[in-house]
């Protein structure tokens, strides 16, 4: 991933927030910070001002490895026609009411 630099030369961080009801941390956005401590505080100030969260994770963007768009074909297309991977594909025996 490209190292996106702020005017101050601070690295980019990705922010994940867990909401009050949420069970998992969800990606909220990104921001600039000099280090992890500042990234957490910046995340608190930028992304939880309206009571959005009770827990924050930050990770420097350069540590995230992303799948590349050029490989999207071999990565994702093969799953297209595998309908048997959905539970609805299978006929359930009469006796089975709930699954």
């Amino acid at each position: 991933m490209e190292k996106n630099s702020a005017p101050a030369g601070w690295p980019l961080w990705e922010v994940f927030i867990r909401t009050r009801q949420g069970l998992d941390h969800k990606h909220a956005g990104s921001l600039h910070a000099a280090d992890a401590k500042m990234a957490l505080e910046n995340a608190r100030d930028v992304y939880t001002r309206r009571n959005e969260g009770i827990s924050i994770w930050v990770v420097e963007s350069r540590h995230i490895h992303a799948s590349s768009p050029e490989e999207a074909g071999e990565f994702f297309d093969p799953a297209n026609d595998k309908i048997y991977r959905y539970p609805g594909f299978y006929q359930l025996p009469e006796e089975l009411k709930n699954i």
């Binding site: 101050a8 500042m38 910046n42 001002r49």
Partner: protein
């Protein structure tokens, strides 16, 4: 006006004036994330001042209705007979009636000076609100309890910046030294009790600021040392000016000109 009302207004003025100074950074912060951080702190402080002004207004109204002539308090409202609101106190007083510490009205200067002013005051306010938790005035104790969480974050945020700036580049260190030079003379006032502070301390409603000096000095100097900066000088100095008693530097007038413009130009205007 009772000592308790003066004291509440003093606390409110401290929060409003520093909140206003911080709000001047909105849109001008060194980086978007820190612009928002400081604007959040400004909003916290203005929120605290609102709670305190509301409390002061309700006490003024009770006080005025008890008095037989009841006219002395009316100068703020140019003689009009109506109930006081928080806005009357914030917007319709002139600088000699403001009771904020002079430190808080100092100009923002650079980021180092703004941070140092916040750092000094947040650590002071943290101890002050801590003391108010035991106030015999339940509303003050409640406001203290609500505000102390915000203030704890302000103290943490500004302390970290002190360490970053003090111990980073030659330039940032130099700027911190200049900030210390600029602001240190205004600090002693925080700990010099005004008469109304002495009264409310005696009645168990307020906190004697002089008792906060030792714990403040200890905490502040611990952080300044980590930041490789000069410690705050331990010997007690006399205040240069007493903003608490209405004697301000020239800066407050300019702040009020901007802060009060709308209410002065369009009295009673709401939005």
């Amino acid at each position: 006006m009772t000592p308790l009302i003066s004291y509440i207004i003093h606390l409110a003025d401290n929060a409003l004036i520093l909140g206003h100074r911080n709000s001047e950074w909105t849109g001008h912060g060194p980086i978007l994330e820190q612009d928002i951080a400081l604007s959040n702190i400004a909003l916290d402080l203005i929120g605290q001042s609102r709670n305190l002004y509301q409390l002061a207004a309700s006490r003024i109204n009770v006080f005025s209705s008890r008095k037989e002539s009841g006219a002395q308090e009316q100068h703020m409202l140019s003689g009009e007979k109506k109930l006081f609101t928080e806005d009357d106190i914030a917007y319709l007083r002139d600088s000699p009636e403001f009771k904020n510490a002079v430190l808080l009205e100092q100009t923002n200067g650079d980021w180092a000076k703004t941070i140092l002013r916040q750092f000094y005051f947040s650590h002071f306010q943290l101890l002050q609100y801590g003391g108010l938790l035991n106030s015999r005035e339940p509303m003050l104790a409640a406001i203290g309890e609500k505000s102390i969480k915000e203030t704890r974050y302000h103290a943490k945020w500004s302390s970290e910046w002190i360490c970053r700036l003090g111990d980073a580049t030659t330039e940032s260190h130099e700027r911190m030294l200049n900030a210390l030079n600029d602001l240190n003379p205004w600090v002693p006032e925080l700990f010099a009790a005004a008469d109304y502070e002495k009264s409310v301390t005696a009645s168990g409603e307020g906190v004697d600021p002089a008792t906060l000096y030792k714990p403040w000095l200890e905490e502040v100097n611990k952080i300044l040392e980590t930041a490789t900066l000069l410690p705050y000088p331990a010997e007690k100095k006399a205040p240069v000016l007493s903003g608490k008693n209405g004697f301000h530097s020239e800066h407050l007038g300019y702040i009020l000109t901007e802060l009060q413009f709308l209410q002065r130009a369009y009295p009673g205007c709401e939005w």
